[in-house]
Symmetry: C2
Subunit: 904 residues, 2 copies
Amino acid sequence: MSHKWVYFFGKGKSEGNAQMVNLLGGKGANLAEMTNLGVPVPPGFTITTEVCTEFYKNNRQYPADLAPQVEENLKKLEDAMGKTFGDPSNPLLVSVRSGARKSMPGMMDTVLNLGLNDETTDGMAKLTGNPRFAYDSYRRFVQMYGDVVLGLQPENKDEIDPFEAIIEKKKEARGIQLDTELTTDDLKELVAEFKAAIKERTGHDFPTDPMEQLWGAIGAVFGSWNNERAIQYRKMNGFSDDWGTAVNVQAMVFGNMGDDCATGVAFTRDPATGEKHFYGEFLVNAQGEDVVAGIRTPQPIAQMAEMMPEIYQQLDDIRDRLEKHYRDMQDVEFTVEKGKLWMLQTRVGKRTGFAAFRIAVDLVEEGMITKEEALMRVEPDQLNQLLQPVFDFDSKRLAETEGHLIAKGLPAGPGAASGKIYFNAEDAEEAALKRNEAVILVRLETSPEDIRGMAAAKGILTARGGMTSHAALVGRQMGKVCVVGCGALNIDYTKRQFSVGDVVCKEGDYVSIDGFTGEVFAGQIQTKDSEVIEVLIQKSLKPEDAPVYHTYEKMMQWADEVRKLGVRTNADQPDQCENAIAFGAEGIGLTRTEHMFFEGDRITAVREMIVAEDEAGRRKALNKLLPMQKGDFKGIFKVMTGKPCTIRLLDPPLHEFLPHNEAEIKELAATLGVDFEHLNAIITSLEESNPMLGHRGCRLGNTYPEITEMQVRAIMEAACEVKKEGFDPHPEIMVPLISSKEELAMQRQIAQKVIDEVLAENDMEVPYLIGTMIEIPRAALTADEVAEVADFFSFGTNDLTQTGFGISRDDSNKFMPHYLEKGLFEHDPFQKLDQKGIGKLVAWATENGRKTRPDLKVGICGEHGGEPSSVEFCHRIGLNYVSCSPFRVPIARLAAAQAALRDN
Amino acid sequence: MSHKWVYFFGKGKSEGNAQMVNLLGGKGANLAEMTNLGVPVPPGFTITTEVCTEFYKNNRQYPADLAPQVEENLKKLEDAMGKTFGDPSNPLLVSVRSGARKSMPGMMDTVLNLGLNDETTDGMAKLTGNPRFAYDSYRRFVQMYGDVVLGLQPENKDEIDPFEAIIEKKKEARGIQLDTELTTDDLKELVAEFKAAIKERTGHDFPTDPMEQLWGAIGAVFGSWNNERAIQYRKMNGFSDDWGTAVNVQAMVFGNMGDDCATGVAFTRDPATGEKHFYGEFLVNAQGEDVVAGIRTPQPIAQMAEMMPEIYQQLDDIRDRLEKHYRDMQDVEFTVEKGKLWMLQTRVGKRTGFAAFRIAVDLVEEGMITKEEALMRVEPDQLNQLLQPVFDFDSKRLAETEGHLIAKGLPAGPGAASGKIYFNAEDAEEAALKRNEAVILVRLETSPEDIRGMAAAKGILTARGGMTSHAALVGRQMGKVCVVGCGALNIDYTKRQFSVGDVVCKEGDYVSIDGFTGEVFAGQIQTKDSEVIEVLIQKSLKPEDAPVYHTYEKMMQWADEVRKLGVRTNADQPDQCENAIAFGAEGIGLTRTEHMFFEGDRITAVREMIVAEDEAGRRKALNKLLPMQKGDFKGIFKVMTGKPCTIRLLDPPLHEFLPHNEAEIKELAATLGVDFEHLNAIITSLEESNPMLGHRGCRLGNTYPEITEMQVRAIMEAACEVKKEGFDPHPEIMVPLISSKEELAMQRQIAQKVIDEVLAENDMEVPYLIGTMIEIPRAALTADEVAEVADFFSFGTNDLTQTGFGISRDDSNKFMPHYLEKGLFEHDPFQKLDQKGIGKLVAWATENGRKTRPDLKVGICGEHGGEPSSVEFCHRIGLNYVSCSPFRVPIARLAAAQAALRDN
């Protein structure tokens, strides 16, 4: 028996099915499956992907036994349709389409209406009583075939399509504007002119024999597997060149043969909200492309129930059957030809994040899928849509239509925000707190001094900086809507305005920013709060009144049942901790103590400490800071009672805390009672060429042990005091930026002495750990040694990425966009952990640290801790936990659950 | 038979020998060996290190059979000396000294003159007819024993030594100034007062029984093995605590009993020059400590030939015997007691670099050692003394005596230089070139713009920067004497002067700097040129007139015979290449093309390129640079004909080439005919937060491919043109700062296209390679992939250390000194390659790169390439070559030879 190259589908029975995707392609397998389900599908047959593979293997020759199999299946198709290929009295027309294992939309070729020639077109005209329809179809076929199969295409990119040129000329000659004004005779003439042009430009006669047409189209589709854009698309998506495409030959059906005809697209549930109702549009007497093109406004699918009740009922049944069969929401295309319903396609429907979660949870509750399946049906990042305010859909569409979209930056903090523009932190704070305005803080870039303004604002918009710039990091941590690196903004602080081209936005004007997309709109757009936030954080909504919250809650519950990775949060303030706990954080993975240094008056004491000329001077200033830091820690320990709190000792270079312009320095000199020149000289001497690689992290605590002593004392005294109040503190002291075991050992020694003192002074025990950030390659490379003096490791993958790649994230915008575009980096390593390089360090250090100390607790506290692919990596290499900003905690929980499920 | 715990030596026969160092300690083994050689050594015995080990193992108890063995040996000693321990008529006195496996000078205890008490002292006085000598010896003994054995020591660090206090009081009472003015009666009183103080403060009676004294001293010496400073010393030097010390009990001999007595120290060859003549000093009627203390001026050893001809002849014979026996230059101590010569010690003598090389080569030529031994007898770094000018010894000592040593910086470029101070490159150049002055360029720190001034100067002195700062790197490469990071200098450019405390040095004043030690002297010090340089570089001396050159040449020849590692040079200019070849470089490992950008007028074209706003503008400027760069490369290829030349594409961030003050920017704006404000804005936009991690290296060539294209064209056109002139160019194009394979692949593609073009245009073949620097951790971590597109790797260990440690070398001076002092880093990783961390990356990348491409050429071109321990590491992990600055090439050759020998 010869090899089977062709699979038939039709009349309720197929030779293929949905499992045979690799052989039949996605489209072919689904058409076969639908047919098997008894859904009315125009019959046809699929030439397998194996033919494509053979075709290329054998120098573009088909297998010898392909032709008889095609002919045999064509015969079956004629039988099924009761029409005959090439028969003028009742012609069978077919479509010829590609269909690879995975969808490659628009990359390969398609031919419709195949089988038409002068005779069959004439027959069609008679048969339908609609000559214009017949000749328009013929015109389209010749045009499509001439382009795709015979290759009559523009010779260069400046030339317009040769067929369109002929049409334009014809319309000019007729003095008409629209294609629809062309008469049947015009169309006939066009067909002739098209054929002549093809002959002249390509040397080919247009084939009149339908069989010849068919083989031409099959060859063109197979050929298009290796056209340039298809190759490029496969490379981009990681699809193998060896897959090949199948070719689907299917009977044509027409929705534009009269008022008993229609065409439409529909979703089995609402793709925006996920609600369980039939959602879609249709057009009477129209072709599929008319729905897509938007020339005529389609009608909601519900109206079909009145206009074509039987068809509607049939469609609704099929909707139900398909969903039950595929166990997911489906996106279907259908055509009604002369009162008969034909389903042309079904596939898993695209949906918003809202809908994805709603549908997944509903399907579990309807008993259609398991919890585990539900967890795998969503993208963790889609959770953002449930947590953040979003723009009202209609308001946003209106703003776009009216041209208010003025720029696009990087989507650094998800959500939508609309508010009045302020250009500095003070003004922003005043407007928000005193006048209760919604504020968008607009800055070239933000710095630690802007923190209070950022906290007061609804959203933050900057002209510079990347996804891990200060604005992005701090904004995300605060849960602010944030768009950064919006280079198109021309900000003029003096004039208190920014401009984009002609558009000028002044202080107090409204601006709206979309932190999901990076879009910036002039003016106000209505936003909608997140139900989840209203229930969990604002407590302004009851759970039972919040279906979106229900969805969230269910999914989180299921996630926690399966995940193995712990999830902590990066938080510096008690309110951030409260949010994080509401979102399910199991502890703090990173508290940045330096953020506390900017609050209130303490910055003055900090500065006094920095510019002190000896240890005594530093100690004096540190003594002022001690009670303030202690207060901070007490607040945190109370909220986090019973949960571990990793507190990082001072990290940034000291000059970050100093004033840099003359006026500020003079003010500080006056406050401290020192000479301006002298102070200025000290500040200058602290400047660094590469602050990222300078005098910071444990290098501070090792050169100025009194800083470490003060911070450790503040931590431990706070722990003792809250414990006396009945709380259960679990401090974990974390030493930043070590590159050698000895650096950690010295910090440990300094800390241990203070801890012993404080516990003795208070005559009590508090459980504590001393560990380190691993954020310098050498620390990872010597992790076996470092673990000798560490109770835990926490990977600071932000800095590890900076040092491991030799890239300063603050400077990377000069080349990173180009690098991503050209594929020099697969992805931005500051967004997704680079598993191939940096990940090697993380895995190596984890493995070797545990060889030294099997019970070593290992986590990650870089921004990557809330990024799903990075979370999966952390699960795979066996970390104990990930830590991320409060609003990303649910995302990390979900990603951890998916990782655990994938690992099974 | 009981275990042997004690080994006797004396009367020409020992129970031990030099091989028994572990058992007898260094001192004991050598005394035994000398005795065996027939050298007159005061007899004695050694209590083994095993006793020490047992002592500590058994809770400070001696083995039971030790006492009888000590008594037996003491008896033998009495017999040998014809004196009796404790016999007033002819008392035997002994010294009791420690002696570990390796010398631990001053760390453990010693007791001299043991055996004295009231009776024996009286006997000594009669026997010698010198009561003052006897009682002074007694006074010394009681003092030493009281301190070491009985523990009468200052109670805190502010108290003066209690014995010295008593002496001071006595002198005060007597109204005298000097110890020598104390009478015999005074000394007797002191002894009594010492004993009383001991009794009062420690409760101990001073033991009068010599046997009790002996056991007390033995116990004290064993006890001193575990005193705090000894433990610390062992830790610092990596000596094991388990070794233990031996105790040597040896008969005392005295050089101060009359004019037939003497004491001295001598070297068997000149320790300064290595010349083969007897070198040393002696004092008649004196004790060893008088020679060391410098109270009396000793006489040259040659005078002994006249004063004590027989003794001198005996000593000269022993000198010859010891050298032949030990096969190395010896440092001996001797005492003549009443006309009899006693040798007290012999050990390998310390020597200068000059002497080390001279002696090693002479010993080979005298047939005493092998070439391989000679190679292992020297420190590679000592070669510097043969290559660099040095201060005339007497002139330098005079300058020190007169207080001209004003500061100390880091010794960044070896040699000595004296010259007139200039504070900027232009003035320095003018003074040197037009007025032919010797110039020392003094700067806060240097930048690429100072290069011509640096080239014109004899020496460079900076106030800031570390061992790998710009001044240090470039200075070393140019072979300049260089002292950097001399923080004590207060430089005032405006006043054209610097000050250190009260000393003010103005422009034109002389300053002298020592690049071996970092010392800075006000005023002029005579220098002496290197013979090697005169022969090899200046060609002002014939080899046959240059014994130092002969030494150098022999050693290099032997080194080349055994080394396996290739040695290349880092050089940017033809003259540097010529020097490097003279020093034996086998190719160029690194040419930094950007150094060429500062020459002559080309900086203007470079700046034009940088500020151009589009590719066309950049190409226009690059076209101006092309012929200049080509000229540079031609010069290099001609000198390096037949040898590989690795040329690195542009590396530094572009803003390094731009002017930064307003005047310069205005000038550039005028030159380029652009608006000042606009130009200023462009320059500002190029600034970076962390330039080290910014837009540089291949990130430039990948975002502006036209720069790579120009440089590759210049390289390949230069190669073609010199080949036409009969030279044999071997360009190796090196792409800097890659962190992913894709980055290199893109640079390779850009370069390959230009190479193909140029070779086609010239219709010729030139051998070439395209490879990459590995200087970013991620490049090392993904080396297996990177090797797919690299013909060679060259480790840029400077940057790899910066990124691997997360340390900017320009900023490291804020904590590095502290870190080195506290042992947080074992050594400065910018000076010695950190084998434990960074070395792991180097080894890993080498191994995995070669897995992908077995013939991958791998070298190192960081500054470490000329540092001996790093060279050894490179040998061990199988690199093909190291590359270093021209003046370090001989050092690398020697270090490579030693590595190969150690590896055997």
